[in-house]
């Protein structure tokens, strides 16, 4: 009798446990390398910085679409209460959102309510040297860990359930001017990331760490050492402080097992004297073997750059029939299409005002005008130092087959002056200033037709913005502006369908996810994360 009861109770408890396991399974399920490869199969989640390995920032979710976007309402906000630029793109994994805030905050939120599950903040040394704000753009995830690059140049694995530090490795001594601001990219069992520091005369690199242990598996220096190919593109010892940081997340083509990374300016950014040559691999697209870090090929955009035209924009993979391409709207004002099998340029055409180049070499790559160099008293050049675009993500929509990018129409007066290199000190070789044109600087969201390079439509911003762009199968593109609006536009026509005033400039790239059958769109602005959905 008693044993029968015990059996019954045991059975009931077992069933209850089973039911509860089933109920919590989605939140507990681990993100495997295979899930990352198949991210397109789970559009309810947003598993990496750009949404997929192709870097398209496109979602197949279509609950929010051109017919109902005007009804979007805010669902919740999450405040970091930190000042400065808030650049994160959230990850969405089975009902949990993972993000980063200013000063190396990280957090996990209940995606339904925005309530935090854990919050982390790194104790940063007082003398870190981030060039452009105490920013971070997001996390990567694999298994039970999320990965954070820090402003003191560490890579940290946090337990995804608690935010506890699982491992913490130093990539390089930050006092040399190194920092990390990008969201890492996980490929297989590796956490791949690059460094910032193009304003400090660093020697850039891209690293891969074992996700389980933090042990470094390889390093690719973006400035070749003596004896390595490309070293002869640097004058004298200038390679040692050549810059070429890699501070935006790369993409990955599993079909050829190639990861694509982009690099920034040679140092010092405003002075070419003393570093004669093309300065490889600054301002380049690098095709690397993710298992070994070996360079398969490279393509250099603006050679021997003197205008801070970092090529650190997400290299977006697009297939057109048999053609396997990389598309990049570059900070130097050109839209580049590159064959990603060979690294050969297909074409380059301006998508914003350009004065630094008026000719091309035999490959079609733009060449700098001799008289575009910075001078002691200043030389007006377009685009300005912040570029025709910058790190904010573009998006490629396979439905409209258009490439959408945030364009900035701003020219600057570039000046140069001799400057001695001192480790860890700012090393620009002078600087740039806004020119005093009569017309104010503006911005625009531009829809580029990659088959022609022509601009199909544009949405004008009153002033230049730092917001990225998201496209969805609902026929929409989402972007933000410097005036604080988060905007939904018709992806075909460019007509604004909805907007919400966030109260501060948008300095981030939006994402989307689905939970309980409801699609959300999320963006960071000011000190807050905002989510929107249909009522």
């Amino acid at each position: 009798m008693r044993s029968k009861w015990i059996k019954a109770i045991f059975f009931a408890v077992s069933m209850a446990m089973l039911v509860s396991i089933v109920a919590v399974l989605p939140a507990g399920a681990q993100v495997t390398a295979q899930r990352l490869l198949d991210s397109g199969k789970e559009p309810q989640n947003w598993l990496m910085y750009s949404g997929d390995y192709a870097g398209r920032r496109f979602s197949t979710l279509e609950q929010i679409n051109i017919s109902n976007a005007s009804k979007l309402i805010p669902k919740w906000a999450y405040q970091t209460m930190a000042g400065g630029k808030f650049e994160t793109t959230l990850l969405a994994v089975d009902g949990i959102l993972y993000g980063t805030g200013q000063d190396n905050r990280a957090f996990a939120l209940d995606a339904r309510s925005g309530r935090p599950i854990w919050q982390y903040q790194r104790a940063l040394p007082a003398d870190i040297r981030p060039c452009c704000g105490r920013v971070n753009r997001g996390l990567a995830i694999l298994g039970d860990k999320v990965f954070l690059g820090t402003l003191d140049a560490h890579v940290i694995a946090l337990d995804a359930k608690t935010g506890n530090v699982v491992w913490d490795v130093t990539t390089v001594d930050y006092r040399g001017g190194y920092s990390i601001t990008l969201a890492p990219l996980v490929i297989k069992n590796l956490v791949i990331m690059g460094v910032s520091g193009g304003e400090y005369g660093i020697r850039g690199f891209i690293d891969a760490y074992d996700a389980a242990t933090g042990e470094r598996q390889w390093r690719f220096y973006t400035v070749p050492a003596p004896g390595e190919p490309g070293h002869d593109t640097w004058e004298g010892e200038s390679w040692k402080i050549g810059g070429a940081p890699a501070w935006i997340t790369g993409t990955y083509d599993s079909a050829t097992n190639t990861t694509f990374w982009t690099t920034g300016n040679p140092s010092p950014s405003n002075r070419g004297e003393g570093r004669a040559g093309d300065n490889l691999y600054s301002n380049s697209l690098l095709a690397l073997d993710p298992d070994t870090g070996k360079l398969k090929w490279f393509y250099q955009f603006s050679k021997h750059d003197e205008h801070d035209y970092d090529a650190t924009q997400v290299p977006v993979m697009v297939d057109q029939g048999e053609k396997h391409l990389i598309m990049q709207a570059n900070r130097d004002g050109f839209f580049y299409v590159i064959d990603r099998s060979s690294g050969k340029l297909v074409y380059a055409t301006p998508f914003a005002k350009v004065t630094w180049s008026d000719s091309k070499d035999a490959s079609g790559t733009p060449i700098a005008r001799k008289d575009a160099s910075p001078t002691l008293d200043g030389n007006r050049v377009c685009p300005g130092a912040a570029g025709a675009t910058n790190w904010m993500s573009p998006t490629y929509d396979p439905q409209t087959q258009l490439f959408y990018v945030t364009a900035r129409e701003q020219c600057d007066v570039f000046s140069t002056a001799p400057q001695a290199y001192e480790a860890g000190h700012a090393y620009y070789g002078s600087a740039y200033f806004p020119n005093d044109d009569a017309a104010p600087f503006t911005g625009a969201l531009r829809a580029i037709d990659p088959s022609t390079g022509k601009i199909r439509w544009e949405w004008k911003h009153p002033s230049p913005t730092w917001s990225g762009v998201l496209s969805t199968a609902g026929g929409l593109v989402f972007t933000g502006d410097a005036e604080g609006n988060f905007i939904a536009l018709d992806a075909t026509s460019g007509k604004a369908l909805w907007h919400f005033q966030c109260g501060a400039s948008v300095y981030s790239s939006p994402m989307t996810f689905e939970l309980d059958g409801k699609q959300y769109v999320a963006v960071a602005a000011g000190s807050a994360l905002f989510t929107f959905a249909l009522p």
């Binding site: 400065g84 060039c131 002056a417 001695a420 002078s430 200033f433 604080g484 300095y507």
Partner: protein, 295 residues
């Protein structure tokens, strides 16, 4: 970031940036600052008159300061001319250090390291910048040329500046308040603003995270009921407009409800040519602005 930097990166008496590791440490530092700040070594520039430091400071100045204060520190559209001997926020070494390190609340001057472009400076680099500023600034306060009293008469009288501009609470609202303009702008800028006001429009509201300030643009709209309004843009975005009409009435409008909306970069202020204001009178007017601005 602004508030955070001020809270976390206090300049301690040891001459180094210290990070508050605990409330107690913070209190100790504050007490030290209160007790010893006036006498401590960091009030004096360790590189005073050091030509090499001034050269290094020039590099730092170009990278961090010239964006607003112009090449050679002669003032830009946004920042004052620093070659003047007078400084509105104090001219002692410690004053300059504080202004650079902590910024000036309520102005466009941000705390060190808090600009969205450029990098922050170390303590040593700030002193180098101060050494550079000392090397280019006038040795003594320049005698203000012109008759300030007559300038004031013109401002409120014949030149009719006060129709649209306010100084110390008295005057109109349509144009920028000119109470501190004399110390915030170079003389060349002031002359240009009077003679060719449309050449560079004055800057209005600066929002915390926005790179560019709103300017005093001229706007003409026709509302849904056919009312025509002309005035200056106080602020705007793609969807809304906040304007003041020439009768100083505020209008807060939604752009999609307007019949027409037209903006111009011609200033509402007329250009004051020689006939309207002689060079002599202009000098007196600027003398008044400089005198008031220095107060």
């Amino acid at each position: 970031m602004l508030a955070r930097n001020r809270a976390e990166r206090r300049f301690g008496t040891g001459g180094r940036f210290v990070r508050e590791s605990s409330l107690l440490a913070g209190i100790v530092i504050l007490l030290c600052m209160a007790g010893a700040a006036k006498l401590s070594a960091q009030d004096k520039n360790p590189f005073a008159n050091d030509a090499k430091a001034a050269k290094l400071g020039e590099s730092q100045f170009r990278a961090n300061c010239a964006f607003c204060h112009g090449l050679g520190a002669r003032g830009g559209g946004r920042g004052p001319d620093l070659t003047r001997a007078q400084k509105r926020h104090g001219n002692a070494d410690a004053d300059l250090f504080r202004t650079i390190n902590e910024g000036v609340p309520g102005t466009a001057m941000p705390p060190n390291g808090a600009t969205q472009q450029g990098v922050g400076m170390t303590e040593e680099e700030i002193w180098q910048v101060i050494t550079y500023i000392r090397s280019v600034q006038a040795k003594a306060p320049t005698q203000i040329m012109g008759n300030a009293a007559h300038g004031k008469e013109l401002f409120y009288g014949n030149a009719a500046c006060s129709t649209c501009h306010m100084i110390q609470g008295k005057g109109g609202r349509l144009g920028p308040d000119l109470s501190t303009t004399g110390s915030a702008r170079s003389t060349e800028y002031l002359v240009e603003s009077v003679r060719s006001p449309s050449r560079r429009l004055a800057q209005g509201i600066s929002e915390a995270m926005k790179e560019f300030s709103q300017e005093y643009e001229t706007v003409t709209v026709v509302t849904a009921d056919g009312t025509k309004l002309m005035g200056v843009v106080l602020n705007e975005d793609n969807f809304t407009l906040q304007m003041m009409d020439t009768r100083e009435q505020l209008h807060l409008l939604q752009k999609d409800k307007l019949r027409s909306y037209e903006k111009s970069r011609g200033s509402l202020m007329p250009p004051y040519d020689q006939k309207m204001l002689s060079d002599k009178d202009l000098q007196d007017l600027i003398a008044y602005l400089l005198t008031v601005g220095g107060q």
